[in-house]
């Protein structure tokens, strides 16, 4: 059985541990960049720098006062600091953590110069690598890596927020749309809507939502779930579908059905009741109360106000199949989310027609239309005052539910 570690990983890791690094056969895995050491040596070896280093070293040990020593170490800091190995004056404040007091900290008790700016680089590099203990480096690296990883999540998210911004706005419910994956544009009564959907089984094919409400799409869904029932076969033939069209339908195609044939299918569905309807609902997994005849279900809970599915055509009616939530449904429009139903009685919001019909040419923004009518009437045609108030609240983003 393969383990996760390879031989080279084990050799490398031994060199991170003090016991391994001390073994000359293994050695230390990591060290300050050899190139860094070389370029710093090149600089420190310049005659003028060697000379200046000798000056500052000789000036230590209380030969010069502390203030004068500091002044000496900042020679040319604001003109050409490389000629005195000084920290650039512009960075005195910025590097206060690693070079306090604008110059190098007295690394030993004698206040002795330890190498100027190049010494700072060297010390920082040496000690980031842990000095003589690479486990110290591992701690520093792990902390740094963790910080960078966390910070980068915020940095990258901050950049990527533009992607969300392009579709974010009161038209689709703002932050609710973000945290609900867009379901807020369907309804905000998630509990009621979810409860209704739980009774629908596989009634709706989510892969062909553009066909929602189409009789032939419903028949295809039944066929997909349970095959072609005799009652549906009869219905299809009575609607005038050819054997080829029926075969095409059972093979998964929705094409080739004329609107007039589709209408005949719908009319036929209004005649499918009782046992046939029960059978279809069972195949689809629909658990709504089903009537045995074209009337309210005799066995339905008499205290229930839920409408009963009396014919197969009822399965195309949102009021019937979503009895607890249909009046909460909304549709996104350029003017914001709009109620699909104007009232809880099931009256449709005909204002939506302008957004869905290609034949309606006079498009007035629904909200301005509502406002102008509200100024004239206390009750807007097709829209109750309560729905109007809710609509206004949504526009202003002041939802209270």
């Amino acid at each position: 059985m393969a383990g996760p570690l390879s031989s080279v990983m084990m050799i490398a890791t031994a060199g991170l541990l003090p016991s391994g690094a001390n073994d000359p056969q293994i050695g230390a895995s990591l060290d300050v960049s050899a190139n860094l050491v070389a370029v710093l040596d090149d600089y420190d070896s310049l005659p003028v720098i060697q000379q200046f280093t000798e000056i500052v070293t000789a000036a230590g040990g209380n030969v010069l006062t502390a203030n004068t020593l500091i002044t000496l170490q900042t020679v040319a800091a604001n003109s050409l600091p490389a000629l005195s190995n000084a920290i650039p004056e512009d960075y005195w404040g910025d590097l206060s953590a690693v070079a306090p007091g604008n110059v190098f900290q007295a690394y030993d008790s004698g206040n002795v110069f330890v190498g100027g700016f190049s010494g700072l680089i060297s010390n920082m590099a040496d000690n980031i690598m842990g000095g003589d203990d690479l486990t110290r480096f591992c701690q520093i690296y792990t902390a740094a890596e963790g910080y960078a990883g966390q910070a980068n999540q915020f940095i990258n998210s901050n950049l990527n927020v533009g992607t969300i911004s392009s579709t974010f706005g009161p038209q689709n419910g703002g932050m609710d749309s973000v945290i609900t994956g867009g379901f807020n544009q369907v309804t905000e009564a998630f509990g009621a809507f979810g409860s209704d959907l739980q009774k629908l089984g596989n009634l709706i094919n989510l892969r062909s939502l553009d066909s929602l409400g189409s009789p032939v799409a419903l028949i295809k869904q039944v066929i997909d779930q349970g095959g072609l029932l005799p009652s549906l076969n009869n219905l299809l033939r009575q609607a005038g579908l050819t054997a080829g069209q029926i075969n095409s339908l059972t093979a998964g195609s929705l094409g080739g059905i004329t609107d007039s044939a589709n209408k005949l299918l719908y009319e036929g569905m209004t005649q499918i009741t009782g046992d046939s309807l029960q059978q279809i609902c069972a195949i689809l997994g629909v658990t709504l109360p089903v009537g045995r005849s074209n009337a309210r279900a005799p066995f339905a809970d008499p205290t229930s106000t839920i409408n009963t599915i009396n014919t197969m055509a009822d399965l195309l009616n949102p009021v019937k199949i979503l009895p607890n939530s249909f009046f909460t449904l909304t549709m996104p429009t350029p003017d914001g989310l709009r109620a699909i139903y104007a009232s809880q009685s099931g009256a449709i919001n005909t204002n939506l027609e302008q957004y869905l019909s290609s034949t309606v040419t006079t498009v007035q923004p629904i909200e301005s239309s509502l406002i102008s009518r509200a100024r004239q009437d206390s009750e807007i045609v097709g829209v109750s005052s309560a729905d109007y108030a809710a609509s206004l609240q949504r526009l202003s983003g002041a939802r209270t539910n």
Partner: protein, 343 residues
């Protein structure tokens, strides 16, 4: 003709309108076509919204500008894509980032100044403390060596006015002393050789900026870089000999190898791996094993992508470890099972 226009010829117009409106709503839901209705129904039953969170609902952008500016200005200070923070931004100085390429510019610049005789005001040395051609740095050395006495009298030169001072400290710090003279001389060198000085200063500041970037990010990471730089481990928050974190790094070498971004982890570890010159005798076997591990990690990724196998990972002998016999594992025997059946 729209779907709605067709559908309202087929089913009652109000139902057609409702269905098409609902269809449009549902199609706003991300990846809804990849789901199933029962699964969505169950999820929706418990899905939550921003109900009663007025200020959240009132937001007209997903991130208010003040918040976006906060993150951009506070955290986005790195050199990675989109100002992301790279490994080099935190510990890159140890790999020579912005030093290995900048310090040679400095060395070359100073060498060129020296070769052109532009530094004699500092470094000229006639070999005699009393010479009137010595440079200021040279006079500083003589002064510290007591060549001018405890109350120094320093000769005048073309670069220093000379004078008598109460003590060595005054010879350096007085307004007419050696330090101000050095500053004046270097300012003159900078002015006369502005191009070279500009290049040297730019490189010097690039290195300073790298130190600052590492300093700031390590502080943000909670690392006590102030004490670490001076090797004061006892007062730093980094402990000695922490084997577990070293083991953790070791087990992640393959994944570290996969970060091949500029300034990323693989680049850093490659720079600090103790490989010597890559020969059989240079560096250490452990250092070369680090680089080998990084390469191995990248190869494993390649092999996994192509479906090929690689046998670099060692056999887990513990897979054959005997199972303990006191784990209280139990099953009904056939006899016990039969006895439990009610006839």
């Amino acid at each position: 003709m729209s779907e709605y226009d067709r559908l309202k010829k087929v089913i009652p117009p109000d139902q057609a309108l409702a269905n098409q409106a609902l269809s449009r709503s549902l199609r706003q839901v991300k990846r809804i076509t990849e789901s199933q209705l029962p699964a969505i129904a169950n999820a929706l039953s418990v899905m939550e919204s921003n109900s009663n969170l007025g200020q959240i609902n009132a937001l007209d952008t997903p991130l208010p500008p003040s918040v976006a500016n906060f993150w951009a200005n506070t955290f986005a200070t790195g050199t990675g894509a989109g100002n992301a923070i790279t490994v080099s931004d935190t510990v890159g100085i140890a790999a020579g980032v912005n030093v290995n390429d900048q310090m040679p510019i400095v060395v070359l610049g100073i060498q060129s100044l020296a070769d052109a005789g532009q530094l004699i005001s500092l470094t000229a040395n006639a070999g005699n403390a009393m010479s009137n051609t010595n440079g200021i740095y040279t006079q500083m050395q003589y002064c510290l060596a007591n060549a001018y006495g405890a109350a120094p009298t320093i000769p005048a030169t073309p670069y220093f006015a000379g004078g008598s001072f109460a003590n060595i400290d005054a010879a350096f710090s007085a307004a007419n002393g050696l330090i101000p003279a050095a500053n004046t001389a270097i300012t003159s060198i900078t002015s006369v050789n502005s191009d070279t000085a500009g290049n040297v200063n730019a490189a010097w500041e690039t290195m300073a900026a790298q130190i600052q970037l590492n300093q700031d990010n390590l502080i943000a990471a909670g690392v006590d870089i102030g004490n670490i730089v001076i090797g004061d481990w006892a007062n730093s928050n980094i402990a000695n000999n922490q084997q577990s974190v070293a083991l953790s790094i070791g087990t992640r070498l393959h994944s570290i190898g996969l970060d091949i971004s500029q300034g990323g982890a693989s680049q850093f570890f490659t720079s600090v791996a103790n490989v010597g010159n890559g020969s059989a005798t240079g560096g250490s076997v452990a250092g070369q094993a680090v680089v080998a591990s990084l390469r191995e990690g990248r190869n494993i990724k390649l092999f996994n992508a192509t479906g090929l196998g690689i046998d670099s990972q060692l056999s887990d002998v513990n897979a054959n470890t005997p199972v303990a016999n006191n784990l209280s594992q139990a099953q009904y025997s056939a006899t016990q099972a039969r006895a439990n059946i009610i006839i």
